[in-house]
Assembly symmetry: C2
Homo-oligomer: 330 residues x 2
């Protein structure tokens, strides 16, 4: 076949040049597995014809762009970057691309990203948002992680309630007699707020006294230090077990406790939430309620690609587990 | 003014409704700082008019989409996620959005992302690529991190050569008499290969003997273990200082050394490269040559947005520093 083309080469031209089926070309272009020899032939044909995948043409024809926009609040927190990583793998396995946006916890940026994604005609959006007023159109499928926006926007979350309860149970199992829950974050209804409710339920079921310190986003960390000092008498804290709403907060609290001369876990045991592992040895960085990140990612991808949206549940809660990371006795 | 619009509202309509200058609307929409009262007025006007930013219209008018595509090989490695994080902050400060793609080290996915980004008419691409055959068009400004594609594609990298030399110097300063360099990665020319050259230069300048173990991507890690065993006689290693091409490899090597009954840093000192810090306390996870990630990000953004591309240098190398992370004696 002649390599001269009067107009831009199509996927069909590539298939003809490579001597393979159209589906094989499509698989190679979308990064799906095909036999190595097929892949080489397609790649050579793509080069020979200088073929460029036309997403717009593809979008206009099949009504699909094979792109899913993913929004996370931040990339430095290993929980968020791992969520994005796992979603990326799930999408790639299905021939989709991820376009990732980091909103830096800024509601205006987040709203702009959603509008921009909608306009770029992505096939769907997966959004881990802290913005209670986020506006989404119903034209583009959107799956929310952790925040419940109402029955029309399906939400995927960990079993936050069960995780809060598990944290209380594990602290008591390890000998704690008096617990505390510390949280920084939006006081508005969202899934992670259930960590507190589950924790209270666990304490009450076990008959263990507890204190709460819950502050809104933007409150300086010194409020927690003041809270710890209020409960510090004669070299001892009023409580011997602390559940922190995230691993990130747990690390800050552990730092403060050590500064006060308290030993973790000997004097005070601390449990976080997220399941962050250290970079080098993949050990848990503190005792923690582990979020099932792979499962959350798989569920989000399955739901965002579901054609019949009427079949989607409003909320999916996935089971968490406990891991000892050295800041509890077991 | 009437809120009924015969056609879709424009940015001008928003400015009129809010009673502010057009520039103020633009700033709010692009997430740039404005006075809080202005921001509220603009946001209310945006809502009242149901205004949607039209990137395509904007693109067609000003020739700009205000979107930069960023490609990294992976999101689990904190070095890569931090590069993306810093680029995101730099772009946001200039009213640009980042669309991030994670290529999972797959050259086909990477090539697809570049083609897709070019077609979506992004204003530029910043790419941390391991694909020596990546094809890029000259239509869209592209800045490469770490890989030098030739004089036409500006490249931003750490001073890898200087970093390799610094690693040798620091190991010798801490008492090492016999060094080794370990590397896994593409053997093709790229910037990180200069870490080896700088290391050799440092050893030769200081008159210190050295061994090299350099293997190509995809080689199983067991090759390094075999190398260590070859140099292990009577409970001692032939070398007492090891420079690893990344912190990631350093952590694996440290694990192997400990399994062999060797103490780090007492028996063998180890230096990595990247400057990865632990999540909890922000300590360096091993002794390391620290890449200046903020500066790399700032440089890439400045260069990708530069209108006069003839002014761009082919290669910018930014200074690195040394940090002790407990796997060396100082």
């Amino acid at each position: 076949m002649s390599r001269q083309q009067s107009s831009a080469p199509t996927m069909k031209d590539v298939a003809r040049e490579a001597g393979v089926a159209l589906g094989t070309v499509s698989k190679v272009i979308n990064g799906l597995p095909v036999g190595e020899s097929y892949r080489i032939r397609v790649e050579e044909a793509v080069k020979a014809l200088n073929y460029r995948v036309n997403n717009y043409a593809r979008g206009l024809k099949g009504g699909q762009t094979f792109i899913i926009a993913v929004m996370v609040p931040n990339l430095l927190n290993p929980y968020f970057s791992r969520v994005a990583h796992c979603i990326n793998l799930e999408l790639a396995a299905r021939g989709y691309k991820m376009l990732l946006c980091s909103t830096e916890f800024d509601p205006v940026q987040e709203q702009n990203y959603v509008i921009s994604a909608e306009q770029q005609k992505v096939d769907g959006i997966i959004c881990l948002s802290y913005n209670p007023e986020l506006e989404v159109s119903e034209d583009v499928p959107l799956i929310s992680i952790d925040r419940y926006f109402g029955a029309k926007i399906p939400c995927v979350a960990s079993d936050n309630y069960g995780g809060g309860r598990l944290a209380a149970e594990k602290l008591v199992e390890n000998g704690c007699k008096n617990l505390a829950f510390l949280r920084i974050g939006s006081v508005l209804t969202n899934e992670p707020n259930k960590r507190r409710d589950g924790f209270i339920n666990g304490c009450e079921a076990l008959g263990v006294p507890y204190s709460l310190k819950i502050v809104d986003d933007g409150t300086p960390y010194s409020e927690f230090e003041a809270f710890l000092r209020e409960h510090f008498h004669g070299g001892k804290l009023d409580f011997d077990g602390i559940f922190c709403v995230t691993d990130s907060l747990a690390h800050q609290i552990i730092g403060s406790l050590r500064t006060m001369g308290l030993r973790v876990p000997e004097d005070v045991q601390v449990v976080g939430f997220d399941g962050i592992r250290s970079f080098g040895d993949l050990e848990y960085t503190c005792s923690t309620i582990v979020q099932p990140v792979e499962e959350i990612a798989a569920q989000c991808v399955e739901m965002v690609l579901e054609k019949d949206r009427s079949r989607l549940p409003a909320l999916v809660c996935l089971p968490v587990s406990y891991a000892c990371g050295g800041t509890t006795k077991g």
